[in-house]
């Protein structure tokens, strides 16, 4: 077995060499995503590719997390993925952060796998704390975990990720209202603001208006990351978001991304939201993302 595990995060200091490492990892994660969905001819590459930088930044630099996995996550930052369909990027980054063997990515969506189509605790995959896939539930769960952190006097933070189209689900707004009303200020909830959903652009399917103003009207602090596919910008923006925690208000990051980022024919369209590339398309896509750390 090739050693493909990266060392867990050892430093918060960003310099040229580790920026390059993060970029290399992001490219490798893209390859993982493409190969995973291609193998089973199903899954969601578009949103996964768009969030590769975010996940790499989160797990390698931003979160103060333990190397081993315990469900209760006491004494560490926790992450919740609400838009569970982007499981390929989540699985790739979890594996390459040491939570389970990278080779296991080979089992994505296959029978008897821990890597279900949408993430679940049911099969005991380390790194997953709640099932997600039926949309709109992750805000509430993340806020509950944030409340427990406060009850436990645990200073660590809760991070969560949500699709922009997902915000069409009403439960989100119950949770968003609750968070500000109860001063849940130990959470950073990020919206993958790619403007696309299965049936088309969000502005066509169901226009959501000005999300920044909506979150602000609900009492949240909002941080924009305008270049959500530039890892330096993601790191800078998340540092700003972190600095806003603990001030009585929940923090929202609007992460402006491009769905399908890194594969030219998948970008700027909803077409690859839930479609896998064929053999020829995979070859082209992988050429645009040359192997860096070694394929699984």
């Amino acid at each position: 077995m090739k050693s493909l595990l990266l060392q867990p995060k050892t430093t918060h200091t960003l310099n040229m060499s580790n920026t390059q490492q993060l970029k290399d990892l992001t490219t490798q994660v893209r390859r993982d995503i493409l190969r995973m969905v291609h193998k089973v001819n199903s899954g969601h590459p578009g949103g996964s590719l768009g969030c590769a930088e975010f996940f790499v930044a989160l797990y390698k630099e931003i979160m103060d997390r333990k190397d081993s996995f315990e469900m209760d996550g006491i004494g560490e930052d926790l992450f919740f993925l609400s838009n569970g369909h982007i499981s390929p990027v989540f699985y790739s980054v979890l594996a390459r952060s040491g939570y389970f063997p990278v080779e296991e990515l080979n089992t994505f969506r296959l029978i008897d796998s821990r890597l279900q189509g949408h993430p679940t605790t049911h099969e005991g995959l380390p790194g997953i704390r709640v099932a997600s896939g039926s949309l709109g539930q992750g805000f509430s769960v993340a806020l509950g975990a944030a409340q427990t952190k406060k009850l436990n006097k645990d200073q660590h933070l809760i991070y969560s990720l949500h699709g922009d189209g997902e915000l069409q689900e009403g439960q989100n707004w119950e949770a968003i209202m609750y968070a500000a009303g109860n001063n849940v200020d130990n959470i950073i909830s990020t919206i993958d603001y790619n403007g696309q959903q299965i049936d088309g652009p969000t502005d066509v399917v169901l226009p959501m208006g000005n999300l920044k103003e909506k979150f602000e009207a609900f009492g949240w602090t909002v941080v924009d990351i305008l270049q959500g596919n530039n890892i330096e910008e993601v790191l800078k923006g998340m540092a700003v978001a972190k600095s806003k925690t603990g001030q009585g208000k929940p923090v929202c990051v609007l992460l402006h991304t491009v769905m399908g980022n890194g594969v030219d024919f998948m970008m700027h369209t909803h077409a690859w939201h839930g479609k896998a590339p064929n053999d020829e398309q995979l070859e082209i896509a992988l050429k645009q993302n040359p192997e860096t750390l070694g394929d699984y």
Partner: protein, 317 residues
């Protein structure tokens, strides 16, 4: 025939409130959430004594279920409180994904179940909740019969690891089970010994079953009454043991005959030892406004209905 004394009518929801108060003192990890019905759920005392562990979520049940699921991560034991309708049907998918499928240690506590919330009518009465909850893999489903049992069950579920649906009601009903009872999840309670017919009841219908047994006894019919407080996991052994003796059964519940206790009992019997069964339950209908007593009479959910069903099933032996 063994008889039971009503020590004074009390509402089961107050049993829940009293149980929660006890847990507040004994279990520091118990937290409580309520969706704008603190008074109705009798959660005032817990809130007053433990404000830091009480979460008013407003009229937002979906968020309440998700919050509860999240709160388990880090070791809390959340008890959610609202009406049975808003505890189940309204939030089915939230319970399914965030609680049951994710195996979170959430206690979904539901008052005002069935017809007996009365005057508010069918929008607030739910007769489908046992079915909804028992179909969820891993979900424990409990429907208690009186104040004392509801209090005991509330305390017991805190020490059980896993999702639980605890169903109780609004009206003041006979309080007849022991104050110091040990509540065992999944364990049927045989209340009377009989040889002619087994009456398996749950919730408010348990007292009615005891009343029916008295009437049947006067008619020379010996009824064995079993209180099934846990509908899932069902005490198959207790049911089979009794029906092996009586050879027929009446099930009684404040719930639709589709999806309720009766169907669970029918499954146990049909796959082990088939026996005639009559269902005292609502007949695939919504409820309506009215006093609890008149509703139970109109929808055939009282002692009289159990007597009639017993006489009918005896003829089918």
């Amino acid at each position: 025939m063994k008889t039971y004394t009503n020590t004074g009518n009390k509402d089961t929801r107050s049993g829940f409130g009293a149980g929660l108060t006890e847990l507040g003192k004994t279990h520091e990890n118990v937290v409580a959430l309520c969706a704008d019905l603190i008074g109705s759920l009798k959660m005032d005392d817990f809130k007053a004594n433990h404000p830091e562990r009480f979460f008013q979520v407003g009229i937002a049940e979906a968020n309440m279920i998700g919050l509860a699921a999240g709160m388990t991560i880090g070791g809390k034991i959340p008890f959610t409180g609202t009406f049975a309708n808003f505890s189940t049907g309204r939030v089915y998918d939230q319970i399914r994904q965030s609680v049951a499928y994710s195996n979170k240690n959430v206690k979904i506590c539901a008052s005002h179940a069935g017809l007996t919330l009365g005057e508010d009518g069918a929008t607030h009465q739910i007769l489908e909740d046992i079915g909804l909850m028992k179909m969820l893999p891993g979900m424990t489903v409990i429907n208690t019969c009186d104040y004392n049992q509801t209090k005991a069950a509330t305390i017991a579920i805190a020490d059980y690891e896993g999702p639980v649906y605890l169903r109780f009601g609004r009206p003041k009903v006979a309080n007849f089970t022991a104050e110091d009872q040990k509540f065992e999840i999944g364990k049927a309670v045989q209340l009377t010994e009989g040889s002619d017919v087994t009456i398996i009841a749950t919730g408010h219908l348990v007292w009615e079953a005891l009343e029916a047994a008295k009437t049947l006894n006067e008619k020379g019919i010996s009824a064995e009454v079993i209180n099934i407080h846990t509908i899932k996991p069902l005490d198959d052994k207790a049911i089979l043991k009794s029906v092996a003796k009586t050879k027929c059964v009446v099930t009684a519940e404040e719930h639709n005959y589709l999806g309720g206790l009766g169907e669970s009992v029918a499954r146990v019997l049909s796959t082990n030892q088939p026996a005639p069964q009559e269902f005292v339950a609502t007949q695939d209908t919504f409820g309506e406004s009215g006093t609890p007593e008149l509703l139970m009479e109109k929808y055939g959910l009282n002692a009289e209905a159990i007597v009639k069903a017993s006489e009918k099933v005896l003829k089918r032996k």
